[in-house]
């Protein structure tokens, strides 16, 4: 390594003075320091602060933060409302990810062809992904309007009665899942298509020579070769779904009767509407633990995959 450093120093100026040598040593740190500073101020320190706050009772205004040990956590875990939030988050995440991945995989197998029509359709189903969640939420609020909405009109056309999509606790969470699936399908499909296209063609050619039937080719070649993509999309989907906020805030505000309240919205409510900072932080710490476990699993499996190859 010393060799590399010396050659760098000499490349700049032949007369290697003491200050130049130390600059070559300091230079990497100077180059990463702006980024590291931002990370420390806006990511690392806040995480620590959140953990600290989760053991305290504080209402944002009072000058003192009272240490109350794990009281926030024990209260959270015994609280019925928070249990609902956890259940809602898990239901939302499970169905959103399951449906998005399942439909996207089928669409990818279907749309993975050349030609203008197929690339046009790929772009069409992708367009919701780059549309602001504000517009997606408000557009679907209007489409799901109980009285004048397009969706109920379409249902009535085929003889199904109108459904109170967003105003009934029985349907609200389902409606939010539908919107999430609609928004997410394009991205997932295109990632699957990219995965399909990266499978070496000769694998299929060899199988064809052996007269392997198509469904076996799918099970023996496509599925295993696609599994890293499948795994990636599943984990990313789970992590993102656990943080859902925008659609809930805009479309249902956690209601009706708490039926669509999930993690981030709950933290937002307790932090910004009820000013229970310690309590909200404790909920944040629990979410942090869940997301960390998922991330560790992701990297564990990923590193195995890399070695396996």
């Amino acid at each position: 390594m010393a060799l590399v450093k010396d050659s760098m120093g000499m490349g700049e100026r032949r007369s290697t003075s003491q200050s130049l040598v130390s600059w070559t040593r300091l230079r990497p740190y100077a180059m990463i320091s702006p980024a590291i500073l931002v990370f420390c101020l806006f990511f690392i320190y806040p995480i620590g602060y959140m953990v600290y706050l989760s053991f305290h009772d504080w209402n944002f205004v009072s000058p003192t933060k009272e240490f109350i040990g794990t009281a926030n956590f024990t209260y959270l875990l015994s609280n019925l409302e928070f249990r609902e939030v956890i259940v809602n988050s898990f239901i939302y995440t499970f169905f959103t990810v399951f449906l998005t991945i399942g439909i996207s995989l089928l669409l990818a197998l279907w749309l993975n062809r050349g030609g203008a029509i197929y690339s046009f359709l790929q772009a069409s189903i992708f367009s919701p992904h780059i549309t602001s969640l504000v517009s997606v939420s408000m557009l679907w609020m209007w489409i799901m309007d109980a009285d004048y909405g397009l969706l109920n009109w379409a249902l009535n056309l085929i003889g199904i009665e109108s459904i109170p999509w967003l105003t009934s606790p029985d349907y609200a969470l389902t409606s939010l899942i539908m919107v999430a699936v609609w928004k997410g399908i394009g991205f997932n499909t295109l990632v699957f298509i990219a995965g399909l296209q990266s499978i070496p063609k000769d694998l299929y050619e060899a199988a064809e020579l052996d007269h392997t039937p198509p469904w076996r080719r799918f099970l023996r070649i496509t599925v295993p070769m696609l599994s890293p993509t499948l795994f990636f999309l599943t984990i990313i989907g789970i992590i993102n779904s656990f943080q859902v906020f925008e659609t809930i805030n805009l479309m249902t505000e956690g209601g009706p009767i708490n039926s669509t309240n999930t993690f981030v919205y709950y933290i937002y409510q307790y932090g910004f509407q009820f000013f229970k900072i310690g309590y909200a932080s404790a909920a944040g710490v629990i979410l942090l633990v869940i997301l960390s476990v998922l991330t560790v699993i992701y990297f564990k499996v990923l590193s195995k995959k890399v070695h396996y190859r």
Binding site: I32, A35, L53, F60, S127, V134, L150, W182, A194, F272
Partner: protein, 274 residues
């Protein structure tokens, strides 16, 4: 082996249905945006309004200080992009090309930040910004995103692929490190830079969560926030005005998407393939 006609027809119908599911909501948005209030309250709905109500757009635009929102959006997005490039490029170069003590530690730190979503830490960041007096200012919207762990990660990979001989040759010609970055590294990393710029632009132009949490007055509010507030007008939601406002938000992005489709799709799908 020829595909039977019936299968072709089913395939065609399926494609049309798929297109309807994804395009119809946007058509509906545009249709509503041009209706009178009365026309939005008919059931079954009308698809084509009797006359185009351009006034809806003016009404949406004038219902709040939208010029201010628009400028805030432009400034915030622009500054984030500039700062991100200013911090990402040197950091990625140092991580890719230098050996230095604690390098792995700092890179691990970067990777941890890649995993921390802003949706998780908004509360402590809010409290910090508040104690630094940055709340409700555009700096509170810019500084937390002044760098991007994702960007450092992608650009570092791209920089690592440049052959060492190229750099050695440049150094023999007395090129400074800055010249090497500017003349060799950045041109070779151009696709990744475009990817990052598009990715970041769309994410922050569309962002609703962070401005919602960090602003309390019109001083620093951005366009998505202003659009979201359209539904809080007195006398119930006027869907024609709301959709007109949303059309103003959606159309620019869709136009950019239309022209830079390949780049944008690659920008987003990139992460999935790697």
């Amino acid at each position: 082996m020829k595909t039977p006609l019936i299968l072709k027809v089913i395939n065609g119908l399926g494609l049309v249905l798929l297109f309807i599911i994804f395009a119809m909501p946007f058509v509906w948005m545009a249709s509503t945006a041009f209706k009178t209030l009365g026309e939005t309250l008919t059931f079954p709905p009308v698809w084509i309004p009797e006359s185009l109500q351009w006034a809806n757009f003016a009404q949406a635009w004038n219902s709040g200080p939208f010029l201010k929102y628009f400028f805030n959006s432009v400034i915030v997005t622009l500054f984030i992009l500039i700062l991100q490039f200013a911090t990402i490029i040197p950091a990625a170069y140092a991580f890719a090309r230098y050996q230095f003590p604690l390098k792995n530690f700092f890179f691990a730190l970067t990777m941890i930040c890649l995993m921390i979503p802003s949706q998780l830490i908004f509360l402590p960041v809010y409290l910090n910004l508040s104690s630094w007096g940055l709340l409700d200012s555009i700096w509170g919207l810019i500084l937390p995103f002044a760098t991007s762990a994702f960007g450092i990660f992608l650009l570092r990979q791209s920089f690592m692929q440049v052959p060492e001989e190229l750099l050695e040759a440049a150094r023999l010609d007395d090129a400074t490190e800055w010249q090497i970055i500017r003349k060799i590294m950045l041109p070779l990393a151009k696709p990744v830079l475009i990817t990052l710029a598009l990715f970041s632009f769309i994410a922050h132009w569309n962002d609703y969560f962070w401005p919602l949490v960090m602003t309390t007055t019109d001083n620093a509010r951005t366009l998505p926030l202003g659009i979201a507030m359209l539904r809080q007008v007195e006398g119930g939601a006027a869907w024609n005005t709301i959709m007109a406002g949303n059309l103003l938000l959606v159309v620019p992005i869709l136009i950019i998407f239309f022209f830079a489709q390949r780049h944008i799709i690659r920008a987003f799908v990139y992460t999935g393939v790697k």
